[in-house]
Symmetry: C2
Subunit: 254 residues, 2 copies
């Protein structure tokens, strides 16, 4: 059971038609879990959070004047981008990292984490999006910000920026096309993950079901290792998103 708040809203008065979410913002493991018996250095590894993603998301939140919802508990306790029934929601192994405290947990503990992390986090997103749609109507857009390991299971990943989508591809394609033309980063659609990997839970649950155009941005964490780099990436993405036509055509094109 997690006796801590699990969601925080940055820039709560933001006026942008874009609503940002960062599910893997935090590596905080409640002290009650004793670091899930992990090795000290693994507690701040990409297994625990998406390094750099929160900094990028906050900078983007400022530049776009967008509301940003952040998770405030590590994905190792419960991965808020996975549904309760997913075997990846609470992992005992993540890439090369072992998470002993998650091995063989009881159904009761699983359910308690669903109730104390998944449920209130998604209630906060749902509430924020409801208010957002009330203010922005059909122009509301949902974007989640993630970072990924440039080398995964020893294999180098080609993408630097990934544009992932669920039901509607118009927004992701438009952003990826502009970024690709610009040539600053190696851009790919649905890399290094796609819907086949079950990573679209957040945007599917909140965006697709409401007909809100949605996009999941994946950034190589090598590009955002320092606050300066994260700020630069935030500035770049703010500029990119401001050049993507922001109107109802995404809704109808869904």
């Amino acid at each position: 059971m997690v006796d801590w708040p699990v969601a925080s809203v940055s820039n709560p008065l933001g006026s942008s038609s874009i609503l940002l979410v960062c599910e893997h913002a935090s590596h905080f493991i409640p002290p009650e879990y004793s670091g899930l018996s992990m090795a000290e250095q693994d507690l701040v590894s990409p297994a625990a959070w998406d390094p750099g993603a929160l900094m990028v998301a906050r900078r983007l939140s400022f530049k776009l004047d967008a509301v940003l919802i952040e998770a405030t508990v590590s994905r190792l306790i419960y991965d808020c981008n996975r549904p309760p029934e997913s075997s990846d929601a609470i992992r005992a192994q993540s890439e090369l990292y072992e998470i002993p405290g998650n091995a063989n947990i009881s159904a009761e503990e699983h359910l308690s984490r669903v109730r104390t992390v998944h449920d209130p986090f998604h209630a906060a997103v749902d509430d924020a999006l409801t208010k957002h749609i009330k203010n922005n109507g059909e122009s509301s857009i949902l974007i989640s910000i993630h970072s990924f390991m440039p080398v995964y299971f020893g294999k180098h990943r080609e993408a630097e920026l990934g544009f992932l989508h669920g039901e509607g591809s118009t927004l992701a394609k438009a952003a990826c096309d502009i970024a690709t033309d610009e040539g600053r980063y190696r851009c790919r659609m649905n890399e290094p993950y796609s819907s086949a990997d079950g990573v679209l839970y957040l945007i599917d649950r909140h965006g697709s079901t409401r007909g809100v155009p949605s996009l999941m941005l994946e950034i190589s964490n090598a590009l955002i290792a320092s606050p300066v780099q994260a700020a630069q990436m935030g500035d770049y993405l703010a500029s990119l998103l401001s050049r993507v036509p922001n109107d109802a055509e995404y809704v109808s094109a869904q």
Copy 2:
């Protein structure tokens, strides 16, 4: 100029009649300020933030189911518990810590920090309190959470828990009396600071002006150095506050 969000709201759907604020929650110095040219170790010192305060505030937020507004930028950039005209709002020296990047800043830079930190932070508090009063009416209570150095300028401070108040003292006295009777900590009214030190800006600006009973809690940072200790203190304060009569008598007693 601070190109980052400066306020974040944890547990945004909290139902408690208490609204929590943590002005010194963060030691984040935007990379644009190059650490204000401070020594590396000073950037996470009590000059930069109130160590442990955010952990206590978040635990308290969970236990009370209270909305919590956190500053997300270091007090060294701008101290959100000080008015723009205060000489303590942007310090070039804090206790024994030197802040070279704040020495001799221009009036323009001062104003820019007021506009990009002070103003949006207080707008976020104002908005949250307005919504809170709308939901709770006369039972709304404002509490800010701080930590202090047990040794200051070489002098040992006697207090472990300080209960500070502005115009109305009823709430602070009631909480201090219960905690004193209990005997777990050395409790003091208006220590280690009081209104004479100009530290009540937040509760005066938002609480007293609206007739909302307010309290500033100061906790010795030696008691909340680890997450486990901070959680225990949060639990203690949640229990304490739940035993303080929470009704309109505070309003009338103001």
